[in-house]
């Protein structure tokens, strides 16, 4: 333990603690900009500088470990002057047109400049000497260098958390900027559109491409029938942007709000999550049968999930040799879109031309996914608009709805019903758990041998997790699996995904089924979720997801009555002809540069 004093108060902390964390212990908040709990230390922005008595230079509190006997001042004259200078310097290089900024009201730089009353700042405006353009080419991410403060959170996110390296630092001095390979647009580089950079950007330099006006136009067009679907993770994050604390389940309130916004039908992506399990589970069993019974050497195993569009684009760029291993199932969002303009239209006797499908996603990569040319199997663009959890919160505010006071409501029928298995898609390990609940029961006729159906080994936040289930007592059709140890692996965050796939490639990990989610924590930590997102918040959202699962009467995808109805009345059987047409897709190899 190390003893030191901060602003005259004594504190004792473990060796290696930063001054920032030691101060937190004494309830002194030191402002930060480049620091983020999820990322490695940078010490770039210098807004957290503190004074050490007797020291010449100030210290970056986020980057400096405590030392015995240190006497730290967090609010001395020297510190205040320097801190104010730093904020002024940042503002002088920042397009501070706040009232027109998408992040107005949710900007860390704005907050700090307000806190330090930098109203009378006198430094020269440097923006006019620079030539900035806004990159709007990506359907998911908008990058505006004029608002960038070079904290490099995005670069560290892209490099360390995601292992993608689409964003990098280029040039030096006055010309230094956050750029991409050869300064190509975000649409032309290896960006997976995961949006983790957006979630960590302290300003408006990186934001989602927003489609709010298009959605409003559709809602307010009496000719259009606007169907909305909501992803599992939205219901455990949305409240944070509307005045509630992290970890509150707001499913009922969210449905009520969507109805008040004027959507014609409020349906659930969880429904197609259940459907995904039927299709993907069957696909896995088919592959296993081909491998074990037919001894087909060409069958690609392990099979990996395909519901995370960030992961799909990542593997297309990074491990194209594994593309045959990716499940051909579309993501739940795209299954929903394809069915909305076919099955739903047919059943509700609607003209699919007049249906507009909107999805609310915790994700920015979903915007890109909806735009993929393969995603038009209904004959139309299957999903018209994708908006993030954050954008939905904005719509709710725009409509003047007091979210906290809303009475809970229920999803509409037909593609609105879901089971707990669909809900847990929102957490890392959830797809695996849902798949095992169903697959095990199909094979053996019995429930998975875990207490309360909770398959704990696949849950949690460890980057890469492995688990196995021994299959015993198979039903007649599945005898070939008798005694097989079904092995699976789960990874979340693309750095972990890369590590896992490399291990598979090197033969170090040998499993049948792999679940990968591009974002840390899975969709609940998605790039479209409320800002801030950090480990503490992810854990609260995960707890909410699992409690939602526990509270639902049905918790296995194959028991979803609406899914059963769908197969009976429309699709026939999993992996049937119609499924192939509407619910499955293909991938393409993409270049790395």
């Amino acid at each position: 333990m190390v003893k030191l004093s901060i602003n005259g108060l004594l504190v004792e902390v473990p060796e290696g603690t930063t001054i920032l964390d030691a101060a937190k212990k004494l309830n002194f908040r030191i402002p930060v900009l480049c620091h983020h709990d999820d990322l490695c230390v940078a010490g770039n922005c210098r807004v957290c500088v503190v004074e050490q008595l007797g020291g010449k230079a100030l210290l970056a509190a986020c980057a400096t470990p405590v030392a015995e006997g240190m006497q730290i001042l967090t609010n001395s004259l020297k510190v205040r002057t320097a801190r104010k200078h730093v904020i002024e310097l940042l503002l002088s290089e920042h397009n501070a047109d706040c009232t027109k900024c998408y992040k107005n009201g949710n900007c860390e730089l704005q907050d700090l400049s307000n806190e330090f009353s930098v109203g009378d700042h006198i430094l020269l405006d440097l923006i006019k000497h620079k030539d900035y353009t806004i990159d709007r080419f990506s359907p998911s991410i908008q990058k505006d260098d004029s608002k960038c403060i070079r904290c490099q959170r995005c670069v560290r996110t892209c490099e360390q958390l995601q292992g993608v390296n689409a964003l990098c630092v280029a040039f030096k001095g006055a010309e230094q900027k956050i750029s991409t390979f050869y300064n190509h647009s975000m649409a032309e580089v290896i960006c997976t559109n995961c949006g983790q950079c957006i979630n960590r950007c302290p300003t408006g330099a990186l934001v989602e491409r927003t489609y709010l006006d298009e959605v409003w136009d559709a809602i307010l067009d009496p000719e259009k029938h606007v169907v909305v679907q909501t992803a599992p993770a939205v219901r455990v994050g949305l409240g944070e942007d509307l005045g509630l604390v992290p970890g509150e389940r707001v499913t009922g309130k969210m449905v009520a709000a969507l109805k008040r916004l004027g959507f014609d039908a409020v349906l659930d992506t969880d429904f197609t999550a259940d459907l995904t399990i039927m299709e993907e589970g069957t696909e896995l069993l088919t592959r296993l049968k081909k491998a074990l019974v037919d001894k087909d050497k060409n069958v690609a195993l392990p099979m990996t999930t395909s519901c995370s569009p960030g992961w799909v684009k990542f593997i297309e760029h990074t491990f194209p040799e594994f593309l045959p291993n990716v499940s051909t199932c579309k993501s739940p969002q795209q299954m929903f879109g394809a069915l909305a303009k076919t099955y739903y239209a047919q059943t509700r006797e609607l003209d699919p031309k007049k249906i507009v499908t909107v999805s609310i996603m915790p994700c920015t990569a979903k915007k890109y996914e909806a735009d993929r040319p393969e995603m038009r199997s209904s004959g139309f663009k299957d999903v018209d608009y994708v908006i993030t959890t954050r954008e939905l919160a904005r719509m709710v505010r725009q409509a003047g709805i007091d979210f906290t006071l809303l009475k809970e409501d229920k999803f509409d029928k037909l593609m609105g019903k879901s089971t707990g298995a669909g809900v847990i898609f929102g957490a890392t390990g959830g797809v695996m758990e849902a798949a095992l609940r169903t697959a095990y029961e199909i094979i053996t006729g019995r429930e998975v041998p875990f207490e309360n159906l909770n398959i704990m080994p696949v849950r949690g936040f460890e980057g890469i997790r492995q688990a196995s289930v021994k299959i015993e007592g198979c039903l007649e059709d599945w005898k070939f699996l008798e005694g097989v140890e079904l092995k699976c692996a789960v990874a979340h965050g693309l750095s972990n995904a890369r590590e896992l796939m490399q291990a598979v490639k090197d033969g170090k990990i040998n499993v049948h089924f792999i679940e990968i989610m591009a974002c840390p924590g899975g969709c609940l930590g998605g790039g479209g979720q409320p800002i801030p997102t950090n480990q503490e918040i992810r854990e609260k959202r995960a707890a909410a997801i699992y409690s939602e699962d526990m509270n639902l009467p049905l918790r296995k995808s194959h028991e979803n009555p609406e899914v059963q109805l769908l197969y009976r009345e429309f699709l026939g059987e999993p992996l049937g002809h119609k499924s192939h047409e509407l619910l499955h897709t293909h991938y393409k190899e993409r270049e790395r540069f």
Binding site: R46, V49, L89, S92, I122
Partner: protein, 386 residues
């Protein structure tokens, strides 16, 4: 006022046989080598002036088999060109210094990080390195030196940015602590010394610590190689005893009309004529990595400052706010004052900003921009404004 006249010294460029010295050093214990360097009072010749012996001692005390010796040959400070000459004239002495350091701290690999613009030295250095490698083999000392080239970024002369560059990443300074002796190149204990410093360690082994210690002053022991440029009839490289005053220096090197001397390059201090007598060139006065630039009365100090700031605004790595934006503000700020767009009082604001840069920037570069700025603005305010 200093009593020591400008005294020429010949240690750095003296032709010697490294083999003899190294054979002698091989007989010594690491602690003895380190003690001799400590006793000599040698401080780093790159400009920062950290006691070399202590640096070696810290690195030697670190546990672990993987340690590195790095020779900082990224000589980028404007007005400094002595390392080029040393590497050109006596490269084997530089290698020998690295080998001595490797004995002292227990390293097996050394790197020379050579300024990109000195690429022309590479064939010669490689030849000499081959000979040196043979010598190491013959003497049975397991030590290898590799050459790495910079690409023209000034910031890569900063030790931790230099490590990043060798490791293949963008050259940006790291947070300190940890210091290089604890976690340096490849995050292993590393001893990084300037070219000239390493050569002095060889000469200390040859002539003994006392010989070196007798030169110079209490705070600035020994001699130093100076790069003299600007308005002088005798520009060039001179090895001089430390401790002289700027006046004594100007008397020898000036053109009779010297109004200011920039000591230590763009990151150094501007000494105006009125302070020539009282200012000692050394760690008790103005330290220098070797750059001595003389300006006579025909020079506009506005242009001098503008030039330096232009340099910094381009050569800041851009990582930390005070340096990246501060340099631009200082540059645009003096332009605005000159053009009358800002009142002369704005200079006071800029001096305050420079003071913040000095204490809040992440590395030595950003922290030293304020030196040149404040010393020129304070002494030549009229020239900046009018």
């Amino acid at each position: 006022m200093s009593k020591i006249p400008v005294q020429r010294v010949d240690l750095i460029f003296e032709k010697i046989t490294c083999k003899e010295i190294f054979e002698k050093v091989l007989q010594s214990k690491p602690e003895e080598i380190i003690q001799s360097v400590i006793d000599s009072g040698l401080k780093g010749r790159g400009g920062a002036g950290f006691p070399t012996g202590l640096k070696w001692q810290f690195a030697a005390r670190e546990k672990g088999a993987d340690k590195y010796i790095v020779c900082n040959a990224d000589e980028g400070e404007p007005g400094t060109f002595k390392d080029r000459e040393i590497l050109d004239e006596v490269p084997e002495k530089v290698f020998c210094g690295m080998a001595i350091a490797s004995l002292a701290i227990g390293a097996k690999i050394g790197y020379i990080y050579l300024r990109g613009e000195y690429k022309f030295l590479v064939p010669k250095l490689e030849n000499k390195l081959a000979e040196f490698q043979q010598l190491m083999q013959d003497l049975g000392h397991d030590f290898r030196i590799e050459l790495r080239l910079g690409s023209g970024a000034y910031i890569c002369g900063e030790e931790s940015a230099l490590f990043e560059s060798i490791e293949g990443r963008r050259g940006e300074p790291r947070n300190k602590p940890p210091y290089p002796t604890k976690s340096g190149l490849f995050h292993k204990p590393t001893c990084i010394n300037n070219v000239e410093t390493l050569v002095y360690t060889v000469m200390i082994q040859k002539y003994g610590a006392m010989h070196f210690r007798e030169l110079g002053t209490k705070d600035s022991r020994g001699s130093k190689v100076f790069s003299v440029s600007g308005d002088t009839p005798t520009a060039g490289i001179y090895e001089l005893e430390l401790g002289m005053s700027v006046r004594e220096f100007v008397d020898v090197f000036g053109d009779g009309d010297t109004k200011a001397v920039q000591v230590g390059g763009a990151a150094g201090f501007c000494v105006p004529r009125k302070r020539f007598d009282e200012t000692i060139i050394g760690f008790e006065g103005v330290p220098t990595g070797g750059s001595m630039k003389l300006f006579n009365s025909s020079r506009s100090m506005y242009n001098v400052l503008h030039n330096y700031l232009d340099f910094f605004a381009e050569e800041s790595c851009g990582q930390c706010t005070p340096c990246r934006v501060g340099c631009q503000q200082l540059l645009k700020g003096i332009e605005a004052v000159k053009k009358g767009e800002k009142s002369h009082k704005y200079l006071d604001e800029l001096v305050k900003l420079a003071a913040t840069m000095k204490i809040a920037a992440k590395c030595g570069l950003g922290q030293s921009v304020g030196n040149a700025f404040s010393s020129i603005v304070e002494n030549f305010k009229e020239e900046i404004i009018y």
